[in-house]
Symmetry: C2
Subunit: 369 residues, 2 copies
């Protein structure tokens, strides 16, 4: 996507061989890039959310393996790097998926050839993500086009957190159909959930929609239900950090509340995700580990002062504890459909199997849900 | 309630005849009081949320009438003052209720006697609010006691916004039963919704629970649904800014989302309110006017810097518009029960009539909902 007319991906290789990423912890007020030169750099970037978003976490982890091997291409170091990266964040499954793919690609390769293969494989993961997000956009565009035809005017779309191109390598998952609809001349308007506590909606989604010229309005996370009651939301579309084989969607905390409101008001609710986000080994969403992050993400907020500096302020009394769980799980029964790179399906085992029939054989069917 | 060992109400008369209030816009970091000397002072305090909370808005408006009459006790000025105060905030019905009560009490009084009568009536409104909130606490306490007996341990209560003593004259509505349960030795723990955009939960509810020693944890508004899914919420209790005669509850935006989650997870959901909050003239919640406030309440956040000063920072990109609607409506069908000063009833016309049978005669029954 473009920022001030220049096309960017969220992660790329510099001529000097560093892995360069956009520092998302400084958006929307500072657009800065950071070079990752070592395994530790990559792990730290994921852990501190310099990069975030399930697909981009996977891509960064893949490059993290390549950077690790550049220092030491032994089997032991490959295993060590995978362990370090896996421990950075627990919920997004793309991380495990990317690491597994890297280890598979590298296992049979002689150490002297591993660095080249690793960078090629990481690059292929990025290219595949771009292509998958583009396909998600094409499938989702048809849903938006359908709503535009029936609504006969502007389509109001609510999204939670950031599942845009900043969360991926390019295009985004939830926002990819929105960009395509906007580019196709469909009148779209996006309700952007602020997305506390880290404000990825206000900071990142608003930033990238604004940069692309898509009409949008930032709202408190609390407002979406009321807007749905007043028929001001035509659809909800969110991303996913992990989707179970039975269609439960784990995404940024608060997604579940929006799904409940959508269900109660007959507003279609979609989750958009590439195949790498599907955890074929899990059936029940409640078995997904939910990341607990620092309470400071809730008790303190950073922003720009009137004098232009970035300042952090405390908004909760010192004596009050705070709990910061980063994700929740929306049961598939509340999800109208999943949008993947292969098409649109119901958020269920049968739905996913219809798009990924090759998973039918390897998939153990549990006796009871 | 007490702050640092001193008993306070939220509004009282000084020896010099001013109306003194706690400046709630400066909590939790500064505890300061403000004197209201004129009608304009009172109107401004309500408008800028120096005072807030439906019952306290009513009490402040009552004193605003008294202050207005001190300057000019004519019929014309009484009417003017009521109009000015009524226009300060549109949603909370206690405002209209208090103004109507003041005008009724003053209409037949000679101008020379009006100031005395007005101050007495405003004081009576405050005393009645304290007594009503105390009664709400006693009725709600029994619900909490029942949960403590069945749960056999700590009762986890989620609340949204601030419906504590800071929202009233003393005790609070939603928090009154919690204070009484805590004082009665029942182990309660409160999940405090941050309550964006003005953070009244993080700023006010956390402050007052902390000051009283009630265990609590501040959470993002987004987290409550997840906690309910994980059986970590035993009940929800909120206040109300206006309750329709049919039991729909208008309260701080986001309340509806919590009610949906409570319903979906079979968690009891209560609204606590004095009779002054009931709008007997309205049946459908969607007919309640919803206040739109400045987008700056969403785009900017104030808090304390590490150096101790209070600073305001922008958290939304300059180019992004924001919408700030302050309330939403929870249909009575999602409310387990209402807790009023007269007892506990279903959130329905029949329920309210069972507690307020005297309203049966005057109440026009609509043909259709």
């Amino acid at each position: 996507m473009k920022i001030s007319g220049t096309h960017y991906r969220t992660i790329w290789l510099t001529a000097a061989g560093a892995v360069r990423v956009i520092d998302q912890s400084r958006l929307p007020f500072d657009f800065a890039v950071v070079d990752l030169d070592t395994l530790d750099d990559a792990a730290q970037a994921i852990r501190t959310m310099v990069v975030r978003g399930a697909p981009l976490i996977g891509a960064t982890a893949a490059y993290g393996i390549a950077l690790a091997l550049r220092a030491d291409a032994s089997d032991a170091h490959l295993e060590y790097a995978a362990r370090i990266l896996q421990a950075t964040r627990p919920t997004a499954i793309n991380l495990a998926w990317a690491l597994k793919r890297m280890c598979s690609a590298l296992g049979g390769v002689a150490p002297k050839d591993r660095v080249d293969v690793a960078f090629r494989e990481a690059s292929a993961i990025c290219d595949a993500d771009v292509e998958q997000c583009r396909s998600i956009g094409i499938h989702g565009l048809e849903i938006i086009r359908g709503l535009a035809n029936t609504a006969g005017g502007r389509v109001n779309i609510l999204t939670h957190c950031n599942a845009g191109w900043l969360a991926c390598v390019d295009w985004g998952t939830a926002l990819s159909p929105i960009y395509m609809a906007h580019d196709a001349g469909i009148q779209v308007h996006v309700w952007v959930d602020e997305t506390r506590p880290r404000n990825q909606g206000a900071a990142l989604t608003a930033f990238e929609l604004g940069a692309h010229g898509v009409p949008h309005t930032v709202i408190a996370d609390n407002l979406g239900g009321h807007l749905m009651q007043r028929d001001q939301v035509d659809m909800v579309i969110v991303g996913s950090d992990r989707t179970t084989a039975a269609g439960d969607v784990c995404n940024k905390v608060g997604t579940y509340l929006k799904a409940l409101a959508a269900h109660h008001n007959s507003v279609p609710f979609y989750a958009a995700l590439p195949v790498s986000t599907i955890d074929w080994s899990l059936d029940r969403g409640r078995d997904i580990p939910i990341e607990e992050r620092s309470p400071m993400e809730l008790t303190h907020i950073s922003g720009r002062t009137s004098s232009g500096s970035i300042e952090t302020v405390r908004v909760v009394p010192e004596a009050s504890p705070a709990l910061n769980l980063a994700f929740d799980v929306t049961p598939g029964s509340l999800v109208t459909a999943l949008i993947t790179e292969r098409g649109v399906c119901s958020a269920s085992r049968a739905g996913l199997l219809s798009l990924y029939p090759e998973r039918g054989a390897e998939w153990p069917i549990p006796l009871a849900r």
